[in-house]
């Protein structure tokens, strides 16, 4: 009755029957293939570093790094050219600050609301809405900034000739709104990780929701919130389309947000777009500025990752 399987299935003989019947080459090959896929990520980083590093080094053999990092005139196409990157960095900075002023408080506020206050129904419709905000292509944001926000600003803010059609304020405000979901979502994750027992303990002492949120939950989630802020700022620094469309394509060393200015990313985009001859010094400026951008965002990303690890460790 029970001879349902053929003889191969039952082992032959008691000696050595535990030894491998057939070598499992397939398993090994599969593992190697999967590892190769994972290494693509490492290869990409290496490729990025190489792609940036070599032209950057070539660039710095012609232009001194000191002039690059401290010079306040950025005119690589003039004769004689000037390679001071400060105007680009300041441009990035001004717009980033404006975006942060918008995104960080609003993002944190939205996160606190969603995490501590919002009833379940509201939460379920608000969270996806914020995610939609994050999903809108930056080029559409740029279009919105240039054609809607800028005229509004021009109507509201009085001044002669200011704000110009290209201005940092418009780009910064729109970018800020774009980043709100990033800040909100990461902050909310951090707050959700705070154990409920902490809240309950505070409530049991007679605290109200405001006190629990601001004095218990936010401090407990601080490293995660810091990570969210850093990531938001990093995104602002690295964003390209909004600033290219709305902020201007001429470097301008100024702190006035009503004026035009060029960011690092806008410079890379506009120069890379054009037909710059490969190997020329203009071509290499793209990589030098790109390297600077990469380093700045890399450092910030590492800090953010560390902070996320820290709060995850504490609670999990």
């Amino acid at each position: 009755m029970t001879q349902l399987i053929d003889k191969r299935a039952a082992a032959a003989g008691t000696s050595g029957f535990l030894r491998q019947q057939r070598p499992r080459h397939g398993e090994r090959a599969i593992q190697v293939a999967l590892l190769a896929a994972a290494l693509v990520a490492v290869a990409t980083t290496v490729a990025i570093v190489i792609a940036l590093l070599i032209p950057t080094l070539e660039f710095f053999s012609v232009v001194s790094p000191v002039e690059f990092l401290t010079g306040t005139t950025w005119t690589p196409l003039f004769e004689p050219p000037s390679f001071g990157v400060v105007p680009l960095v300041v441009g990035t900075l001004v717009i980033t600050v404006i975006a942060s002023v918008v995104a960080l408080p609003l993002g944190l506020g939205a996160a606190i609301y969603l995490s501590e206050y919002a009833p379940e129904r509201v939460r379920r419709s608000l969270k996806p809405t914020l995610e939609v905000l994050a999903g809108i292509p930056t080029v559409v944001y740029g279009f919105f900034a240039l054609t809607f926000i800028t005229p509004v600003i021009q109507a509201i803010v009085p001044g002669d000739g200011l704000p110009s059609v290209f201005n940092a304020l418009s780009a910064g405000l729109v970018m800020g709104v774009m980043i709100i979901p990033t800040v909100a979502s990461l902050s909310e994750d951090a707050m959700a990780a705070v154990p409920n027992t902490l809240r309950q303990g505070a409530f049991a002492l007679g605290s109200n929701k405001r006190q629990v949120s601001t004095r218990v939950v936010v401090p407990a989630a601080l490293s995660g919130i810091a990570a969210a802020f850093i990531l938001g700022i990093s995104r602002a620094i690295g964003e390209t389309m909004i600033v290219t469309i709305a902020a201007g394509l001429q470097p301008n060393l100024t702190l006035n947000p009503l004026k035009f200015m060029e960011t690092m990313t806008a410079f890379i985009a506009s120069t890379g777009q054009g037909d710059v001859p490969t190997g020329s010094i203009e071509y290499k400026t793209v990589f030098a500025v790109g390297m600077l951008l990469f380093i700045i965002t890399f450092v910030m990303n590492m800090a953010s990752i560390r902070l996320v690890r820290k709060y995850r460790e504490v609670y999990e």
């Binding site: 609301y113 939609v132 292509p137």
Partner: protein, 298 residues
């Protein structure tokens, strides 16, 4: 009988509040709601404005005609639409299998204490946050110029694939992690190999999560303009006809029209934006549908 009053430190004289929620609390709550509202309101305004601005151009011509730099009357966005669709297909082709394979390796095979695996993990987390224009530089330097391919569907899709690869990996890892360990133990205890366990137990359960994550990653990819601009993608009046074909894409076309001064071009930019947004909406709806459909357990 009324409740005893708190005499020393109590803020209130009785246990019942008169007048409802105290002012500072109310203020705070409304402040928070305002924070959330800014985002929502901006979203509504942006969408409404874009549709409104693009309305004159939202007609069949947008889809049937090719773009033009001189005559906005007859311009359409067909080459951009087709280019975006081609890009989407090939980006998916490069990034989804690679991302899923990498996620399987990291979750099922890699020993987290070994150095190489920690390096891989950090790399992925970092790449997820690298600005998209840097990927454009990467594409430009290696694929476009060193290999000499130029701005083709191949270079564009490869660049975008690398850009969203970390997103696919992260989403797939989460999906794999959600499969209970007891399933794996049960399978291995029956004499299944590791790969059999992965292929027959883990992957089927993780597929919905992976599908959702992949679709969301793709929707990010097709909205990107910066990397494509770096590759030299520009004005093109024909549909792609192969991997080595030049192309244009909706984000690039929107960018170009936005920077033109004539009103009609701005309308075209808005109309093209609407198409792009509709496409993204469709993709995200599919992703959400899949996610909800598979909430109920087998």
């Amino acid at each position: 009988m009324s409740a005893p009053t708190l005499t020393r430190y109590g803020e209130r004289a009785s246990l019942t509040q008169s007048g409802g929620e105290p002012v500072p609390e109310k203020l705070f709550r409304w402040m928070l709601i305002a924070c959330t509202a800014v985002g929502v309101i901006t979203l509504v305004v942006l969408l409404t404005y874009t549709v409104y601005k693009g309305w004159p151009k939202l007609n069949a011509q947008l889809v049937t005609n090719m773009p033009s730099q001189v005559s906005p009357n007859t311009a359409g966005a067909q080459s951009a639409i087709m280019g975006t669709l081609w890009l989407m297909v090939f980006t998916a082709l490069w990034t989804i299998p690679t991302g899923i394979a990498a996620a399987i390796y990291l979750e099922e095979y890699a020993n987290p204490e070994r150095r190489i695996n920690r390096i891989i993990e950090i790399n992925i987390m970092n790449l997820a946050a690298v600005p998209s224009i840097i990927f454009g530089i990467l594409g430009l330097a290696f694929i476009s110029r060193t290999l000499g391919f130029g701005p083709t569907i191949l270079t564009g899709s490869l660049t975008l694939a690398l850009l969203v690869l970390p997103t696919v990996i992260i989403a797939s890892r989460e999906a794999i992690r959600a499969v209970p360990q007891s399933i794996r133990s049960g399978s291995l205890a029956l004499g299944a190999t590791k790969w059999q366990t992965v292929a027959r137990q883990v992957l089927p359960s993780a597929v919905p999560g992976m599908a959702t994550g992949s679709i969301l990653a793709l929707s990010r990819a097709i909205g990107e303009a910066a990397p494509l601009l770096m590759l030299g993608v520009g004005f093109v009046r024909f549909n792609p006809d192969g991997l080595m074909s030049s192309f244009t894409a909706l984000p690039v076309q929107i960018f170009q029209w936005t920077t033109e001064s004539q009103t009609q071009f701005k309308e075209l930019a808005a109309a093209a934006s609407v198409i792009l947004l509709v496409l993204l909406l469709a993709m995200n709806s599919v992703a959400i549908y899949i996610r909800n459909k598979t909430q109920k357990r087998w």
